[in-house]
Assembly symmetry: none
Homo-oligomer: 406 residues x 2
Amino acid sequence: MEKVFFVICDGLGDRPIEKFGRKTPLEAADTPNLDKLARKGISGMLHPVDIGVRPGSDVAHLSLFGYNLKTDYTGRGPFEAAGIGMDARPGDICLRVNAATVNKDSVVIDRRAGRIDDTSEISDLLDGTVIEGIRICLKPGTGHRMVLVMRGKNLDAAIADVDPHSVGIKVKACKAVKNNKKAKRTARVLQKFLTYAHKKLLVLDSNKERKRLGKFEANYLLSRGAGVYPNLPSFEEKYGLKAVCVAGAGLYKGIGRLLGMDVVEVEGATGKADSNIAAKVRKAISLKSKYDFFFIHFKGTDILGEDGDCEGKKQFIEKIDAALKPLVNMKDILLVATADHSTPCSLKAHSADDVPVVIASPRVRDDDVEKFGERACAHGRLGAIRGKHLMPIIIDLLGMAKLVGA
Amino acid sequence: MEKVFFVICDGLGDRPIEKFGRKTPLEAADTPNLDKLARKGISGMLHPVDIGVRPGSDVAHLSLFGYNLKTDYTGRGPFEAAGIGMDARPGDICLRVNAATVNKDSVVIDRRAGRIDDTSEISDLLDGTVIEGIRICLKPGTGHRMVLVMRGKNLDAAIADVDPHSVGIKVKACKAVKNNKKAKRTARVLQKFLTYAHKKLLVLDSNKERKRLGKFEANYLLSRGAGVYPNLPSFEEKYGLKAVCVAGAGLYKGIGRLLGMDVVEVEGATGKADSNIAAKVRKAISLKSKYDFFFIHFKGTDILGEDGDCEGKKQFIEKIDAALKPLVNMKDILLVATADHSTPCSLKAHSADDVPVVIASPRVRDDDVEKFGERACAHGRLGAIRGKHLMPIIIDLLGMAKLVGA
């Protein structure tokens, strides 16, 4: 059975760019290895969720891994908690938190506290607070990002974001979005904690120092994306494949952990455009004998798309292409390359546009697509598939699909 | 945000015609502007409802506008009522009615009373009749067409057509199609009304005069298509786009009204093959600053398909092409051209054949389709979509799609 190398270039898909002669960054990039992969494999276009659906990265990945979005997706929080390796358990309420700056009227001045680069002092101060019998854990993520986990009885994740998602307006009160006792209790406890945290942060020495230096103080915790930590079947239980996640950015490590994959650290894998992605590919290859399935995630394409940096996105795609060379040249593997969604540089955000996908293996019915790109892959024999179709196709190519009927 | 011009050529799709060298009327027509649109945009084939489903125009339009056919489509009657601007309200039972001719044995002699051109005398005679506490409103449509609305308590639209849909057989008794009291009561009241109407029409002076002139008398009301007037979210509520309907034929104005669109009248817009369709396009363009979404409907293609007039259909398509020239040449709009279904000239009726669709905007991933036609668009990058996908694609291209997940 071939080992599966499953490469996700985050936000790879794009729209025509005038300065590239209406090519997309992928079409404009010089990608000899991805093109070779297209020639070897079967290509198509993939709607991560469905036609016209604009997915977040968390939902898109769950869809690509064949999980049921209706039952298995509970919100962003659990992915963030898993992403930083927090000890979250099924039933815990998980939230993404920004260390932020508010003025004396609780108006948000900066949603990222001047992009503060370390929040471990804040988490040390507040982690483990207990309110109404609920234990609140707070851990630092990268930069201004933190994760909050509430553990205890009678909790419900149906609470609204406190983060107003823009500056110049007041912090929202934490409210239940469902009219039930558990949600109301959860909102009340969280509100008490956020108010308590605000008081403690206002008098923190480091905040006084930041103020003196003219920097934004990290004096408020803006929470959002509450979700209950789900109890998912692991990827291995679902597919019988021992899987490893090779990712730089927290969310994608979180997806790997949520699905029970081993998550390996790679030096220089930053989850940003400067990431040493070749090292990630080498790491995966070095583990070839130990796993059946390698989830390799590259984040730079999405970040550069959100920055509207089409030239940078094109260059990052060329860097991906070079990094994939050893995989493309391996004969005995099943290699998939695709994206979780499009992030058009002109939109600077996710879109619902479909993304190219190629599957190469010795067994696959290859087609006559010669280039890996949005327009080229539309002519591929795989046609227009949905994210949920990808894993079943792979499992069938591995000869592991269950027979339906007899 | 681009303004959306959404052009529906009713029944545009067709099948090969021998005298056109097995081209369809669209393929045989000279359509420089639609072809230019195909070059500018992304093309594909659209199944109005689903593969193999042969839709009526009402259902097809609801599907194209992204409404849920299972919950939002209640029958043809409400569309007809809305089409002639009747004061129908959610809960009313609406029916399409033909003024028709029966002989003394209640056998249908002519389903359209010799295509009588005005039924206002009939509606004046019978409108406002009250039976068992149910108020029955009757209003004239075009020609032999009328609309009947029943208002009152304990009604159910689950009643069968009285119209036998062919001549030489007896009018059907009005029967409930569900075994419930409300449906039985509705059928009973309607039957009483139709019998009462028959008696009154038999002695109408104008019918005596028609008889004397050897014309078919308008002596019976053939009802069909009963449906409860639905309570739909408006198009603007659903999509955040202020919409206007530019149509000639009643049904399509009705669709516009049902969806809360403004409906504008255009001089010379007849809803037939002689319609001044260029004036409709000019009218839409003149309103460009006032609306976000322009539903422009051309009926002639469907009528000529139902007449089996392939030469006429081809010429009408050329007329559409010329009328669309100013829209095709506008750079800052999102222009969609498609059909609600196929009406093959060889079939003289709707078919389930898919229809070509093209979407052009500065943002769209254009493809290499160079002609707007059934075979050419099948090579387009949009692939094979369903009617329900069209609005989500448009909303995403406008940058207005909600993110699913985070």
